[in-house]
């Protein structure tokens, strides 16, 4: 599945939106983010609330227009596509949301929700659409008799699997999962994680997996990016990130996750409040909470620097920090 050019390429993306009714209330949700996703790979995007990860996902899905930068799919810029290419891209990139109850239309049956994309994209002849829906249900491990039910009759795990089925029904090349397992019970979450790995293995579907839970990310991702207040502050192959994280924020995230093992030490608490996206701090956005901040951090925004020796773009480890060498 490895070709030289990435499936999805995001270059210097900037996304803004109007946060209030005043003229000056423009919030820069994403300020200059770049990364690539290869076909058949899983990219983990980590960030807490306010990091801009959801705006990034919405931008890739063409729900929010970029203020600057490019989003390239198969090398073609989304913003400059003609209508036909744009529709084709919509088929090929699908999104799964966090709250499965909210993402399925409450007054439409499961069958209706699953067939809608097929009808819209005119996939298959009419008669074969039902068969396709049944096949995709089987893939996610659900029974056929669910088709007649409505979303509120299903459990959280079943709903999320329906949402995943809906994303799969058009046979996309890339699925964006925005906090797709965050509201699920642990055992259901484990099943979805298994499912995502199976889908990648058997069908070569690439994933942009957005989550705040680093433990979940470690189960899935080949490459990981960490966002803080709209910037990608660290990006690296997964095993490098988890063993040699360079950015203080990444390290605090790793240390803050409560470990299900009482013998492990207590999580290290990060002091201070998360900054507001409407009024970002000068210099490095993390300096207000960083245990190692120095004068330079308060004034100069750190540039993105590569910290490992590799020529291959897909295995670089980049960080935005003045102090990464120490």
């Amino acid at each position: 599945m490895r070709t030289d050019s990435p499936l999805l390429s995001v270059r210097d993306l900037v996304v803004k939106y109007r946060a209030g009714s005043e003229r000056g209330d423009i919030l820069t949700a994403v300020s200059g983010v770049s990364f690539d996703i290869d076909a058949g790979s899983i990219f983990g995007l980590v960030g807490e609330s306010g990091s801009g990860k959801t705006s990034l996902a919405h931008s890739i899905m063409q729900l929010l227009p970029p203020a600057a930068g490019e989003i390239l799919f198969h090398g073609e810029d989304l913003a400059h596509m003609n209508a036909a290419s744009r529709q084709k891209t919509r088929r090929n990139i699908q999104l799964v949301f966090q709250d499965p109850l909210a993402s399925l239309s409450p007054r439409r049956s499961i069958l209706q929700s699953l067939i809608e994309p097929l009808d819209h994209f005119r996939i298959d002849a009419n008669r074969q659409r039902h068969a396709r829906v049944c096949r995709v249900l089987e893939t996610v491990g659900l029974e056929r008799d669910l088709l007649q039910r409505f979303p509120h009759e299903l459990s959280g795990g079943q709903r999320q699997r329906v949402a995943l089925a809906r994303a799969l029904v058009t046979e996309p090349e890339l699925i964006i999962a925005d906090e797709a397992v965050s509201s699920l019970d642990v055992s259901v979450q484990a099943r979805i994680i298994e499912l995502v790995l199976e889908l990648r293995q058997q069908r070569g579907i690439a994933f942009l997996f957005i989550a705040h839970d680093l433990a979940v990310i470690q189960q899935l991702a080949d490459r990981v990016g960490v966002m803080y207040l709209g910037k990608m502050i660290e990006i690296a192959p997964a095993n490098r990130l988890f063993h040699h994280a360079a950015h203080p924020y990444t390290r605090s995230l790793l240390e803050a996750v409560p470990v299900p093992d009482p013998a492990h030490g207590k999580p290290v608490v990060l002091q201070g409040e998360p900054p507001s996206a409407l009024n970002p701090p000068a210099g490095c956005a993390f300096h207000t909470r960083c245990p190692r901040a120095v004068e330079q951090c308060r004034v100069v925004e750190p540039p993105e620097e590569q910290i490992n020796e590799t020529g291959e773009k897909r295995t670089t480890h980049n960080v935005r920090c003045h102090l990464w060498q120490e």
Partner: protein
């Protein structure tokens, strides 16, 4: 271990749902000891939140029927108190904090107003005294600019700050028991760690026992002394946290632990899902509710409901309700020894 500040015997709650009567809490019995943090752990729908509501007497009579032999708190049986007496007990001897602080705080009242109201109602202080006590409480929960916070309104604060205000309100009257229902689920990981630390510290210094309700096993491991594992309205295992994680005896607990992803430095440990689905509360099977998903289940499990059995291990009591519990490794030694 000090003696029990809260003692619950045979608490049951039945709800009237569309399909029929649902036994969402089934003869729950447990004790909470002074100064400890007891975790009540389970997945969604297991009945843990209803248990909390039932303990506080907050289940509306139209919605559900609550029965209990006893809910002993400070010599009083809460199960037999009327609403007026319960109101006196709530907030002063037993209080509760919820998952989503934004909806638990009235948006038109300032933080100071919220705090002072609680303090004046239960401690009988006058306005000036209450104000001072409020500022003190806010500082106790780690709010740097307490005076400014007093004037602020709920929507002006972040999620973590609001949750700390909730803790301040709940602890203002030095209650015997605090019930925390998923207090950090809606918060970021970095904020979560702060809030949990605050909670635990405050509990220690005020001598308040905390019943921490959560589905997050990481939170249990880091914050609780003991834990109760709930499944389909019943407690299936009860143990000190260390024993629970190192050597669980109930297959469900073991299944949960195997499904939790952990960050590891030595290769990835793949999570394993528990097969099957939890039964609907209105259609619970006979015998052990977990039998259909359990690799160790046999005919007996589907007919006879397993009763709680207690085992003493390393000077503490470990309880489980299982016909075929997992064996306790003889090599296990507790760090507490």
């Amino acid at each position: 271990m000090s003696n029990a500040v809260l003692s619950v015997r045979n608490l049951s709650v039945s709800l009237q749902t569309g399909p029929g009567q649902a036994r969402v809490v089934d003869r729950l019995s447990f004790s909470l000891h002074g100064g400890e943090v007891l975790g009540l752990v389970g997945e969604s729908g297991c009945g843990k939140s209803i248990t909390a509501a039932a303990l506080m007497g907050l289940v509306p009579p139209m919605a559900g029927i609550v029965k209990a032999d006893e809910i002993m708190l400070g010599g009083k049986n809460l199960a037999q108190l009327d609403e007026t007496s319960l109101r006196r007990v709530r907030g002063s001897e037993i209080s509760m904090i919820f998952q989503e602080p934004l909806t638990a705080l009235d948006p038109v009242f300032s933080i100071g107003s919220h705090l002072s109201t609680v303090i004046r109602r239960h401690r009988g202080e006058n306005r000036r005294q209450a104000k001072r006590s409020s500022v003190e409480m806010l500082e106790r929960v780690g709010m740097a600019d307490a005076r400014r916070i007093m004037q602020s309104y709920p929507h002006q604060l972040s999620g973590g700050m609001r949750q700390r205000v909730m803790i301040a309100m709940a602890m203002a009257c030095r209650p015997e028991v605090l019930i925390a229902d998923e207090p950090t689920t809606a918060l970021d990981v970095t904020t979560q760690a702060q809030v949990l630390e605050q909670l635990r510290e405050l509990g220690q210094s005020f001598g308040t026992a905390i019943l921490l309700i959560t589905h997050d096993l990481g939170v249990v491991a880091q914050t609780c002394d003991r834990a109760l594992i709930m499944y389909c309205g019943r407690i299936v295992e009860e143990a000190p946290v260390e024993a629970l994680f190192k050597a669980p005896t109930h297959p469900y607990t073991a299944g949960l632990l195997a499904a939790v992803p952990r960050i590891s430095s030595a290769g990835i440990q793949r999570v394993r899902a528990i097969p099957g689905l939890a039964p609907h509360p209105a259609a619970l099977p006979d015998g052990c509710h977990f039998a259909d998903r359990c690799a160790r289940a046999d005919k007996q499990c589907r007919i006879l409901t397993p009763e709680m059995q207690a085992v003493e291990r390393q000077k503490s009591i470990h309880r489980h309700a299982c016909h075929h519990p997992l064996s306790y490794p003889s090599s296990f030694t507790s760090h507490a020894d």
